[in-house]
């Protein structure tokens, strides 16, 4: 099936109807992964296109529309979270060393969503920008307006968390971190810390 990214590159005038046709599926998927709920995903997707309808002139071309829509989506999501409750600095025990030796060929979709849901927003947004938008760490840093080092750190921890959730304590690789100022298992890592 032709995916939105490919369809977006087709020629033609840019209007919000075309953006809906080309990108609503990708946006919904992204929104679902961010929010963890079908209803919220639809709400977010709708909000993005309403914003697009009002600010269509900000989209320079069909080629960059997808990235622009994803950015709007992420902002909508973060804004809705701030309205609900302040960003949590709740503890997240992340074992940055545990990289399972065995690659899991098939990933349980529900377990994956549960693992994503359990991440705090600063980690979740970086992780999804990496996996879903296929952005480089520098592009993520630019789009989220945070230092590249912070992106690398958050990405590493978020991925470690995801893998540990998906493997339920799988065998770690022999590669271990050298002792660093950050403890091997990080109790109460504050998202704002780095």
């Amino acid at each position: 099936m032709l995916k939105g990214r490919d369809m977006a590159e087709s020629a033609g005038p840019l209007d919000v109807g075309r953006l809906v046709v080309d990108h609503h599926q990708a946006l919904y998927r992204y929104a679902y992964r961010l929010s963890g709920s079908a209803a919220d995903a639809e709400d977010l997707t709708q909000q993005v296109f309403l914003t697009a309808q009002q600010k269509i002139d900000q989209v320079r071309s069909a080629d960059c529309a997808r990235g622009w829509l994803f950015t709007v989506l992420r902002n909508c999501y973060l804004k809705s979270r701030r309205q609900r409750h302040p960003l949590s600095a709740a503890s997240m025990d992340l074992d940055v060393n545990a990289i399972p030796a065995q690659c899991v060929p098939v990933i349980d979709r529900e377990a994956l969503q549960r693992a994503i849901n359990s991440l705090d927003d600063p980690f979740k947004t970086v992780l999804l920008a990496f996996y879903f938008e296929h952005r480089s760490y520098r592009e993520i840093a630019e789009s989220l307006d945070i230092p590249p080092g912070t992106v690398m750190s958050r990405l590493s921890r978020a991925k470690a968390h995801l893998r540990s959730q998906l493997t339920d304590g799988g065998e770690p690789l022999s590669g271990q971190l050298e002792p660093t100022p950050i403890r091997r298992v990080l109790p109460g890592v504050s998202p704002a810390a780095r």
């Binding site: 209803a39 909000q47 709007v72 990289i99 879903f132 991925k159 971190l177």
Partner: protein, 283 residues
């Protein structure tokens, strides 16, 4: 084997299937991976995981009719962020026609007015007038404000409520509403909305009426999928919150002001939409 944290973070930052590791900033790490077999295995394992997660993360079922519904909602929503959803319910169609006309006029602002353009402008003006005229005649108009709908439905309610044991089919209480209903009544077809009114009663939250009505989304533009935390409308001693899900419109009417509404939905611990009643620009 001990792995430097910086190396691990670098490996984790490389996108699956990309040549990120060949970038200048990662040259030192790339060299170490080339020399160290254990590091190469680690890098390969990370890439394998990343590829599997990338594949899985995209696997989300999208509702079949989502695109059509989005287009339908956009068609009835004027590009105006300063008005509320309730305003849009009131002004939606006319504003959209007006905006299109304005756009058409701007587009038609050429140095010379031709006879053809005059005819087109005349036809557009006639269409607008016909549209506005029809809106007065047709009770199905999408311009009917939610307050008016609620007033009519409330006026239809009698004192006798049917037992919940004989509840009507097709107008179930939404899962977001956790307050028990103590009775129900049918409401008529005003504004195309045929449905059921429920009387909700909660030990501490008090009572409210919930209308479950078959209404197109165009009657409630921007209705969230869950009960709003704040009422979209407060008028005539009543506060109204509405949402739309599964082809049904849900209109919650709580007697009192915004505070009464908030007290009801909070005490009842209803699952609420995460959006305020006003959509503000985001970027």
């Amino acid at each position: 084997m001990a792995v430097d944290r910086r190396i691990l973070e670098t490996l984790e930052s490389c996108r699956p299937g990309s040549d990120d590791l060949q970038g200048i900033e990662f040259a030192e790490v790339a060299e170490r991976v080339e020399r160290d077999a254990a590091l190469a295995v680690l890098a390969s394992s990370i890439q394998c995981w990343d590829q599997a997660i990338t594949d899985a993360i995209d696997d989300v079922r999208v509702p079949d009719d989502l695109g059509a519904r989005l287009l339908e909602r956009l068609a009835v929503t004027p590009p105006d962020t300063t008005s509320t959803p309730a305003d849009w319910a009131l002004n939606g169609a006319a504003a959209t026609v007006g905006d299109r006309l304005a756009r058409d006029r701007r587009a038609a602002a050429l140095p010379r007015v031709t006879r053809r353009r005059v005819l087109v402008a005349g036809a557009l003006a006639a269409s607008l007038l016909v549209g506005l005229g029809l809106s007065f005649w047709l009770p199905l108009s999408s311009e009917t404000p939610i307050e008016t709908m609620a007033d009519v439905w409330l006026g239809e309610l009698g004192n006798s409520w049917q037992s919940m044991q004989d509840r009507p089919v097709g107008y179930d209480l939404p899962s977001a509403v956790t307050v028990p209903a103590v009775g129900w009544q049918r409401v008529g077809g005003f504004a195309g909305g045929r449905g059921v009114a429920y009387k909700l009663a909660h030990a501490t939250a008090g009572t409210a009426r919930l209308f479950v009505v078959r209404l197109g989304f165009d009657r409630l533009p921007l209705a969230p999928a869950y009960p709003p935390a704040e009422p979209q409308s407060t008028t005539g001693g009543r506060s109204i919150g509405y949402w739309h899900a599964g082809g049904l419109a849900y209109v919650l009417v709580v007697d009192g002001n915004e505070r009464s509404y908030r007290a009801f939905v909070q005490a009842a611990r209803m699952r609420l939409a995460g959006r305020s009643k006003r959509l503000a620009p985001t970027t």
